[in-house]
């Protein structure tokens, strides 16, 4: 069961803070929803730094980052 983090509409650094919180909780895979390129880059960078594998799906103007251990 994937954990979903809805970070759409939040300005930096919220998406990263929420993503890191989910990563710390350890329930994978995690789906992070964002709606700006900036948030996508920030979350990707933070997740990779935390040791996650990151895959990005683009859905219109939104991005879904799927984080795996």
């Amino acid at each position: 069961m994937a954990k979903t983090v809805d970070a759409r509409g939040f300005s930096c650094p919220q998406p990263v803070i929420l993503a890191r919180k989910a990563i710390a909780e350890g329930e994978f895979p995690i789906e992070v929803l964002v709606d700006t390129v900036t948030s996508r880059e920030n979350v990707r960078r933070a997740a990779e730094k935390a040791g996650c594998k990151v895959r990005v799906e683009e859905k219109g103007e939104e991005f879904k980052l799927i984080l795996q251990r």
């Binding site: 759409r8 509409g9 939040f10 803070i17 700006t36 390129v37 900036t38 960078r45 933070a46």
Partner: protein, 371 residues
């Protein structure tokens, strides 16, 4: 091609490029006429714009600064070219407006925004050390609130027109700068004939440099507040690398141009009141952290269509008006009859900074999402 460029700008080399370009161009602007150690200062320049419009009447700081216009438009151009222009608004705008006001009050206590703090340091003005320390403390406090769940809420997509308001407003400012209308006898648009407001690089140069920086900063998400925040929050050094490069390149450029003089006292457009340099920038740092961006970043976001950032910018501009009308702004060191008189704040200014800190702390504490 767009994807490759996007990846470059998002990389460490991208932000290093941004820092280097800013570090090179800002001292050059000073050489070409901008005030000393003030090649770029978002706070001072927005204050100068407020003065030109007559929102305050401090005669020595009145000039519509093209750099600010360039910052917004450069970001707009970058956003349009890379399909990132997105009109959005609605994240507690009234709070952001007042955060902008307090950020400006804090910055004017020091007589500079974080960009100018870096440039002052690069010019040998050691008071900037106190300012940067205060800035870091304010940002650290902001990080505590962020970790505890502080949020101004989600922004929502708006009609495209909403995103164009700030760029168009900047266009109007440019028109006023070029046409120099006078709206009443002894009325605006004002152009300082002495003091920092009278010191400016040629219009075209200021505008083009602003555009270049606005473009690069939008692409690389350059942010002097985020730089410190990310280190404290998650030991991430991406943004601060750009800031560090800015400082080093600016220092070297200043050395080459003979624009370095080390010291605390009598520095240009500066005061050496350590306590209020520190506290003023703590307030500014906290306000920037709560609003999600340094004053430069807020301009770049406004250029991208972010109405919430636009409101913060308007808060800063009007905050500058209040600061000068209510005698809240810092006063520079002066030499009177051969004796150094250390500048600083009036009692009003000190109360305003403390009041601002209290209000920002309250905002940080109360605007929480339920866990």
């Amino acid at each position: 091609m767009r994807e490759r460029l996007t990846r470059f700008f998002a990389s460490r080399w991208g932000i290093i490029l941004a820092g280097a370009v800013i570090g090179l161009l800002a001292p050059l602007l000073q050489r070409l006429g901008n005030p000393p150690n003030m090649g770029i200062c978002v706070a001072c320049f927005e204050r100068d714009i407020a003065g030109a419009l007559g929102l305050h009447r401090a005669a020595v700081v009145q000039y519509i600064r093209p750099e600010i216009i360039g910052f917004v438009w450069g970001a707009t151009i970058a956003a349009l070219l890379f399909r990132e222009f997105k009109a959005r608004s609605g994240s507690a705008p009234i709070v952001r407006y007042f955060l902008g006001m307090f950020a400006m009050i804090g910055a004017l206590a020091f007589l500079g925004c974080p960009w100018r703090a870096l440039l002052r340091l690069a010019g040998g003005d050691l008071n900037a050390i106190l300012a940067l320390a205060g800035l870091a403390v304010g940002i650290a406090l902001g990080v505590l609130f962020l970790k505890a769940g502080y949020s101004l809420g989600r922004t929502t997509r708006s009609h495209t027109a909403v995103g164009w308001i700030m760029p168009i407003f900047m266009g109007l400012l440019l028109l006023l700068l070029i046409l120099k209308p006078q709206f009443s006898k002894d009325g605006p648009i004002f152009f300082s004939t002495s003091g920092p407001g009278s010191q400016h690089a040629p219009l075209i140069v200021s505008l083009v440099v602003g555009l270049m920086i606005g473009f690069l900063a939008q692409r690389t998400r350059f942010c002097t507040m985020g730089a410190v925040r990310d280190v404290i929050l998650m030991k991430d050094t991406h943004l601060i690398t750009g800031v560090g490069v800015l400082l080093v390149v600016a220092f070297i450029t200043n050395l080459v141009l003979g624009q370095v003089r080390f010291g605390f006292t009598g520095q240009p457009v500066a005061h050496s009141n350590h306590l209020w340099n520190f506290l003023g920038m703590s307030l500014a740092g906290l306000a920037f952290a709560l609003a999600g961006g340094c004053p430069g970043r807020q301009l770049f976001l406004a250029g991208e269509g972010d109405g919430d950032a636009g409101v913060f910018v308007l808060g800063m501009i009007t905050g500058a008006a209040f600061a000068h009308n209510f005698s809240l702004a810092g006063k520079a060191d002066a030499v009177v009859d051969g004796v150094l008189k250390v500048g600083g704040l009036t009692n009003f200014g000190m109360v305003a900074v403390i009041f601002g800190l209290v209000v920002c702390v309250l905002i940080g504490l109360t605007m929480r999402e339920r866990a």
